[in-house]
């Protein structure tokens, strides 16, 4: 049943992805030195989110999969965020 052709990711792409990831790591570390108040955490999480998306898309081949998997992954992330959100219905208003 393995009729589906798997996509081969070239080495070059993988090196480029690593570079992007390293640069993003540099950015988060650098940003901590600056003062943005509450924004700092937001930026850190945003950068981490971008990094995670990159890993998911290239290293984990989501970019090359059929639509089902990316949708499932998105669904799980949304589910998690909703749980977090609902939990804070309690903690934000105690």
């Amino acid at each position: 049943m393995s009729e589906e052709k798997t996509h081969i990711v070239p080495y070059k792409t993988q090196v480029i992805v690593l570079f992007v990831l390293l640069i993003l790591t540099g950015i988060t570390v650098a940003v901590t030195r600056l003062e943005f108040g509450a924004l700092n955490t937001l930026i850190a999480m945003l950068v981490a989110g971008i990094k995670a998306t990159i890993v998911l898309a290239w290293y984990m081949h989501l970019k090359y999969e059929k639509r089902l998997l990316p949708m499932l992954v998105a669904g799980v992330v949304i589910l998690f965020l909703l749980v977090l959100f609902v939990t804070f219905f309690d903690y934000s208003y105690r």
Binding site: M1, V76, V86, F89, D90, Y91, Y93
Partner: protein
């Protein structure tokens, strides 16, 4: 691969191993299903006897047959067995394993070896839980909810119980993964999503909850273990922890888990009703959609177990609102089932008795769930016997009745023998009466204010408790008749080889009785809808 001679049934098949080894090392989904069935029947008997002992204790105030420590560990073990060992794995592991591949036209599940591993993990988990009963410090006495901080202050053996539940969680996850992949990848050619029978559909919804909710209990139990062994302080108020956060985590799993219990039961009912009405199911799509809606919304109502826990008012508001929303899909299903019977040609056989009585007790259980979901009334009823009655009605009444229905419905196919219908019906009748007598008084006790997990109670609650305890004894009689009849019939019942004794339309009724090792000689191609009686 096909042998020229007539293929042999899965029961007679001789593999690498003989005797019992041929079962506990078999990766055949049908044998794994039966392994689960036998394990469960054994532990259901244990759990049920514990329930009976509790009821005898409660027949009069004060010391009757046991002291408070025994009582507390009894309801803990009763809860753990019934929830983690019986109803959560219950229908998916037994009938899902046995019939899911057949119903979608596959030869096995996607990962047969992982399937066997699931059973092994399950068995090991049970053993670990059982060790907690016999080790030095005495059986755990926390209730099946393991609420912090009591669960790490008590001196009893909480660790093995928690760890056993953790291991069983893994088993549940693996079953879930197996089923999702099986349904995605192995449906017979032509079986599009909306041509799939309803039992596989509910298993699909259930499997997703198993995958997405069970890790939550996994990590929660790990945190309890870390808390007890290392004293980290996650939930210990003396170290700054928040006990309410534990309750959040626990119920983030355990509420979806109640839908793990009920969804497959609804699937079974959706199979039985059309077959015995000789009529196509009413509103197939509505039932499918409501299944998925329950699975999704059910994830966000966990807070209704915590209305008096000290949560913020706004959270209470949100959780109560969502709780009411999640009741709607259940209502839709009930209406569709009843409509299926309309203008049918009803064949009153044992499985149908169970299905109809399921409808009745499920309605009572569900509607009292609404009473509990409402803020004002929940404050009064929380942690009283009203809650105990609610969940016995819906867990035992709902899932349990569906389980009984499923056993009788699929019995001829699984064993190639027929049970004695008269005894089965008699058992059902006594069971049903005992059930109502046992649990209806608990609603009254709860409204009067009798708290749950009470070893002893005030004299004013005596009347209801006598009634309820006598009900338990009637129930036991019914259950014994049912069990004995089934066990006897599985070994000596009349042999049948007819493929389709009930006139069902789904694929399991097109294969041999009992099914052959590979289920299908040739994978069928599906053209029509399920439940097509034209």
């Amino acid at each position: 691969m096909e042998s020229p001679t007539k293929p042999i049934s899965y029961l007679d098949y001789k593999g690498e191993y003989k005797g019992i080894l041929g079962w506990i090392f078999s990766t055949d989904h049908k044998r794994v299903g039966l392994l689960y069935l036998y394990t469960m029947l054994a532990f259901f008997s244990v759990g049920a006897i514990l329930g009976l002992l509790m009821k005898i204790q409660l027949i009069a105030p004060g010391y009757t047959i046991m002291g408070p420590q025994t009582y507390n560990s009894l309801f803990t073990l009763h809860g753990i067995i019934m929830i983690f060992i019986i109803v959560v794995p219950g229908l998916p592991a037994v009938f899902g394993n046995f019939f899911l591949p057949i119903m979608i036209g596959a030869k096995d599940v996607a990962f047969p070896r992982i399937n066997l591993l699931s059973w092994w993990l399950y068995a090991v988990g049970i053993l670990i839980v059982l060790t907690s009963q016999f080790m030095g410090d005495g059986p755990p006495d926390t209730g099946w909810t393991f609420y912090a901080p009591y669960s790490f202050q008590t001196a009893t053996n909480v660790l093995p119980a928690v760890f056993g539940a953790f291991v069983m969680g893994f088993s549940s996850i693996l079953t879930g993964i197996n089923f999702v992949v099986t349904i995605h990848r192995m449906r017979a050619p032509g079986m599009t999503w909306f041509k799939m029978p309803l039992f596989p559909w509910t298993l699909y919804g259930t499997a997703w909850i198993q995958i997405l909710a069970t890790p939550v209990i996994g990590i929660t139990l790990l945190l309890i273990i870390a808390e007890r062994t290392l004293g980290i302080g996650f939930f210990d108020p003396a170290l700054g922890g928040d006990p309410i956060l534990y309750q959040h985590l626990f119920w983030i799993y355990s509420h979806p888990a109640v839908y793990i219990m009920i969804l497959p039961a609804m699937g079974v009912i959706s199979e039985i009703i059309p077959v015995f009405s000789k009529k196509t199911i009413f509103g197939y799509k509505a039932i499918v959609l409501s299944t998925m809606a329950i699975a999704f919304v059910g994830y966000f109502v966990w807070g209704h177990h915590m209305f008096t826990s000290g949560m913020s008012g706004r959270a209470l508001f949100a959780f109560s609102f969502l709780t009411f929303l999640v009741a709607i899909p259940s209502a839709i299903k009930v209406f569709n089932w009843v409509s299926t019977m309309h203008k049918g040609s009803l064949d009153l056989q044992t499985p149908f008795y169970w299905a109809v009585s399921f409808l009745f007790v499920f309605m009572i259980g569900g509607l009292t769930g609404l009473v509990l979901g409402s803020l004002a009334t929940n404050v009064h009823l929380h942690d009283t016997h009203f809650v105990v009655a609610h969940f016995h009605f819906i867990v035992f009444g709902g899932t349990g009745f569906a389980f009984m229905g499923a056993v009788h419905y699929w019995f001829p196919k699984m064993f190639g023998r027929m049970y004695d219908a008269n005894w089965a019906n008699l058992g059902w009748g006594i069971f049903f009466i005992g059930f109502l007598a046992l649990y209806l008084p608990m609603f009254y006790l709860g409204i009067m204010g009798m708290p749950r997990r009470y070893y002893d109670y005030l004299p004013e609650f005596h009347g209801g408790n006598i009634f309820s305890s006598l009900g338990a004894i009637v129930l036991i009689a019914g259950l014994m008749i049912i069990f004995i009849n089934l066990v006897r019939s599985a070994r000596h019942g009349t042999k049948i080889s007819e493929k389709n004794p009930w006139g069902g339309t789904t694929l399991e009724w097109q294969v041999d009785t009992p099914p052959t090792l590979e289920n299908f000689e040739e994978i069928p191609t599906i053209t029509g809808k399920p439940y097509d009686y034209n």
